[in-house]
């Protein structure tokens, strides 16, 4: 059961997704020892809620992709332990949200499903990271543009796509992550959504998401394959992606299904460095 959390809903009053976020927060507080952070009051008086958020893991409930609650959490430097978005949950559970601001049958059904999933997620056993079977030794080239420093691994085993994700291939396994370009552009990363172990990923399919106050970045897998490991420490410490996106901040490992076919659409260090430099110059002048 979800217990001892500080719950920050967007609580938007003019959209059903916002109303649902508030309702879920209420029910979580009625059923267990959780505490709600009122986003409106938090804007004008932060002392009480900073204390609550400092003492408890924080669950953020966004109504929609405008992510008002996430942005507020970022503004207040809160560490997000768990996060859901009502419109995304509605898609997952195949429920159509009503446009009515009063809760209808559909909305209540969705609320029940979300509460069940949240409570069950707390009962799951933690994933114990597998001992790495191989060592990934990176050698870097460094590129500086103004105050920004970008490291790019130059090992021949590292492949890139043009969406700024890397894959270090050993045998028929690859470790996957994002490059310094991504983490510098997103700035402080607040939240990491991993793929599931066992997920079958297509080449250029989504292999997790990372989120900052500025944006949401979909990780685009350079290779196709099956997810066999995730870097679970990132779930509690997404800042590792900023600190070191290649070693401590790797995202997932996959068992490759079409190494040679996939390589045809990937690039090596030399080409990626050129592309990245151009992107940096285009974005920063």
């Amino acid at each position: 059961m979800l217990e001892n959390y500080a719950i920050l809903p967007c609580n938007g009053l003019d959209k059903s997704a916002g109303v649902i976020s508030g309702e879920i927060a209420k029910r979580l507080c009625e059923s267990a020892e959780n505490q709600t952070i009122c986003p409106v009051f938090y804007r004008v008086s932060e002392k009480k809620y900073n204390r609550i958020a400092g003492e408890h893991p924080v669950l953020v409930i966004d109504g929609c992709q405008t992510r008002c609650a996430t942005k507020l959490a970022a503004e207040k430097n809160l560490k997000i332990s768990k996060k859901i978005t009502i419109t995304e949950e509605a898609k997952t559970h195949n429920v159509e949200l009503s446009s009515n601001l009063r809760l209808l049958e559909n909305d209540n059904a969705l609320i029940e499903k979300i509460l069940t999933a949240l409570n069950q997620s707390e009962d799951k056993l933690p994933i114990i990271p597998a001992e790495p079977s191989v060592t990934y030794d990176f050698e870097y080239e460094t590129y500086q543009h103004g105050k920004f420093i970008f490291r790019v691994p130059k090992n021949p085993e590292v492949y890139y796509n043009e969406n700024d994700c890397w894959a270090y291939v050993i045998g028929n396994h690859a470790r996957i992550g994002v490059t310094d370009f991504v983490q510098q552009n997103l700035s402080d990363i607040l939240y990491f959504t991993p793929p599931e172990i066992g997920d079958e990923i297509d080449q250029f399919g989504e292999i997790g998401e990372i989120e900052s106050s500025k944006s949401v970045f979909e990780l685009i897998s350079p290779f196709s394959g099956k997810v066999i490991a995730i870097n679970s420490p990132l779930e509690q410490k997404p800042e590792l992606l900023n600190e070191n996106p290649y070693e401590l901040g790797w995202v997932a490992e996959i068992e490759l299904t079409d190494i040679e076919g996939d390589k045809e659409l990937l690039i090596g260090f030399d080409q990626y460095l050129k592309i990245m430099k151009k992107k940096v110059e285009d974005l920063n002048g």
Binding site: Q65, E162, D202, E218, E264, L265
Partner: protein, 96 residues
């Protein structure tokens, strides 16, 4: 000849751009504020106040704007179909 390429294919040969669902869009313009590639354009005086002005500026496989769209009004082509099309174009070009 397109000025830019993606995976060695001229960008204007790859159909990857957002489509705006005007029945959902509330013209909040968050997407124009967010996208650094100037894919969207605001047209204040027209009925459709937002259009996709520069589709070829859109980064292939990037769907960040749709993930930030509150009313969920932006959609993208199927990724697998796009990957297949890129492979076909590369094959056509290598055989040409």
């Amino acid at each position: 000849m397109s000025e830019t390429t993606f995976m060695g294919v001229e960008r204007n040969r790859i159909d990857w751009k957002p489509t705006i669902d005007y029945t959902k869009c509330d013209f909040c313009m968050e997407c124009t504020t967010f996208c650094p590639h100037k894919v969207f354009e605001v047209r204040e005086c027209e009925e459709m106040k937002l259009i996709v002005r520069n589709p070829d500026n859109c980064v292939v496989f990037c769907r960040a704007c749709s993930k930030l769209c509150g009313p969920d009004a932006l959609s993208f082509p199927d990724k697998n179909a796009t990957t297949q099309r890129i492979k076909e174009i590369r094959k056509e070009e290598s055989n040409a």
